[in-house]
Amino acid sequence: RAHSNPFSDHQLEYPVSPDEMDWSRLYPEFHDPTTGKMKSQVTIADIGCGFGGLMVDLSPEFPDQLILGMEIRVQVTNYVEDKIIALRNNHAQQKGYQNINVLRGNAMKFLPNFFYKGQLSKMFFCFPDPHFKQRKHKARIITNTLLSEYAYVLREGGVVYTITDVKDLHDWMVKHLEEHPLFQRLSSEWESKDKCVKIMTHATEEGKKVERKKGDKYVACFERLPNPVIE
């Protein structure tokens, strides 16, 4: 199914705090058994990763960084899990795709349970649910209030990537990100040079679908600004 209610009480597994998150299960190759610690942290998050196409394409581009997809729909998460297992098996020799994985989770509620302050360098919001109805706008993944949580988990200079084929939603996301004091839009020149923008535009299943239908794709990227002086 295409939608999931972000407000309902899902049977979700999430750590009580980032300290209690066991990442070795998701990225065993990055777990150092001698120290018992992870050699890398998750720094890239794909929020609402869908079928995981973006992560698959990002994986070889950032071999030392861990990439996490979060997806609220159970079946979709299971599908992505299976896909990653298959990719890892097929690329076992070169230890490919060890840096990507997926979690079933509600990022709107529990992002700070997974990530420390400033842990992430990139967050992707690709073809999010548009929630067209006015009264459901709080269910949108980009809102003024949620942006403060994204700003919390993003490091200074980190980037929020958004892409959608719905013009209204694009305008909404741009408006809210521009209004937020901790984000600043990156230029179209920056976008044209950034490899993630290229991947995001062409890699995801949604992106390919839009391409087949010859639809428009709207991209907007924002940099996480440093906190102002605390009053």
Partner: protein, 432 residues
């Protein structure tokens, strides 16, 4: 037979000569006469917008919650974008607090989902409504800024709005007036904190185990979360004698004590064994969540607070006849049991006084007695005791001034739903 409705909550002013109480949809003030122990009614205000829900409907609603199977039917009629629980489906007043200069009383009204600011003019025996601000979703908790200029209102949808205390609010809440902060979870409590450098913070708790510390007025900068709860948080409190401490409690078996400035958990206190003798059939889980042996109990702390003067905290578990008092060792920040005060009726609210605690009781079987009880610390004996004289004199004043008051006199069956905190517990998948 009619009776005076149980008091949902009480607040005492700093001088401790004015007692404000919420009774159904009415606010009453009692003043202690100078030089005597007697109380007299010094003001009242009725929320005229509140209407009694038809009796049958309210009973059906609470029955259906308990009896329906876990097949999604209870939620089917609700809007899909709504959170799936209601605390209490009523028309009551709730979340009463005094403005910092004690010139105004702030209450949340369920009737039109508003915050009401009442100017206190006791010379004229009046509480005057000077501002009524409606919100898109029901307000659950209020906090007033130290200088009294602003109020922050936390709602059941997870948003917190700021409005001026007195001046007209610019813009309509939810339209032009945007939330100050938001959780994607019902907000249960809100308060202001101030650190050693005098910087202000807004602290909010929610149904998803979260306690969030946000800078104020730069509320777009989140400072930290206090992680540790495994169930919803219903109540948070900063003691007057130690501004870096924060108590929190809710659906867990544990009370938490934090250094909220540093973000550390300092101490916990497990009360499960202590409360067991006080639990009754009222604490059995609803049938759709019940286990095979039909013995699954669910209980939750409704409120936690501290004495103003002494290092003691008190809390109660919803629908129990016990007030549990903890000692707070300030050198090593440890919590230990001080005393359990046994009461005749279930506690329904708790508030602080300088040397103890004020509670209200579900006294509907008492014959209009024991509305409010004062539990006082007796320094010479190093123990807490019920001040019976206080209770009796107040009962007298209540009976004298409210027995003809048609708003607060009700049939036993019309007593408002006084227990809703345990409903905040999450029971897993509702729809995915």
């Amino acid at each position: 037979m009619t009776l005076i409705h149980p008091f949902q909550s009480v607040v005492l002013n700093a001088a401790e000569d004015l007692l404000f109480a919420i009774v159904k949809n009415e606010v009453v003030v009692f003043r202690r006469s100078e030089g005597s122990e007697g109380y007299t009614l010094a003001g009242r205000w009725v929320d005229e917008l509140a209407k009694d829900p038809p009796r049958a409907t309210s009973e059906e609603a609470s029955d259906s919650k308990k009896s329906k199977g876990n097949d999604g039917t209870p939620n089917a009629s609700k809007g899909k974008g709504q959170p799936s629980v209601e605390i209490v489906p009523t028309n009551l007043l709730r979340a009463m607090t005094l403005s910092p200069d004690e010139s105004k009383l702030l209450v949340c009204a369920d009737s039109d989902k508003s915050v009401c600011v009442l100017q206190i003019d006791l010379d004229k025996k009046e509480l005057n409504l000077i501002k009524r601000q409606a919100f898109p979703k029901r307000p659950n908790a209020i906090a007033a800024l130290e200088d009294g200029s602003q109020i922050v209102v936390a709602d059941k949808f997870g948003d917190a709005y700021q409005i001026p205390m007195v001046e007209e609010t610019k813009g309509k809440a939810g339209k032009e007036l945007q939330p100050l902060i938001g959780h994607v979870s019902m907000l249960t409590d809100v308060l202001f904190g101030k650190d050693d450098q005098g910087k202000k913070y807004l602290i909010t708790s929610d149904r998803d185990e979260h306690i969030r510390v946000t800078h104020y007025p730069q509320t777009f900068i989140i400072d930290k979360w206090l992680f540790g709860h495994r169930e919803f948080v219903s109540s948070i409190h900063i003691p007057s004698w130690s501004s870096q401490l924060l108590f929190s409690a809710g659906g867990d078996d544990t009370i938490f004590l934090w250094d909220w400035m540093k973000g550390f958990k300092l101490s916990t206190f497990e009360y499960k064994d202590l409360i067991k003798p006080y639990l009754t059939d009222a604490h059995l889980a609803a049938s759709r969540f019940q286990n095979e042996n039909n013995d699954l109990i669910e209980f939750a702390v409704a409120q936690i607070t501290t004495c103003r003067k002494f290092p003691y905290a008190a809390f109660f578990v919803e629908a129990t006849k016990a007030l549990i008092i903890l000692h707070v060792d300030q050198t090593n920040a440890a919590l230990s049991l001080k005393q359990v005060i046994d009461l005749r009726y279930n506690v329904i609210s708790l508030s602080q006084v300088s040397d103890g605690f004020l509670i209200t009781q579900d006294n509907h079987e008492s014959g209009n007695k024991e509305f409010v009880s004062l539990v006082r610390y007796i320094e010479s004996k190093d123990t807490f005791e019920l001040d019976n004289q206080f209770g009796e004199t107040l009962d007298e004043a209540i009976n004298k001034s409210l027995s003809e008051d048609s708003t607060v006199n009700v049939q036993p069956a019309d007593i408002a739903q006084l227990y809703g905190v345990a409903n905040l517990k999450k029971h897993g998948e509702q729809y995915s």
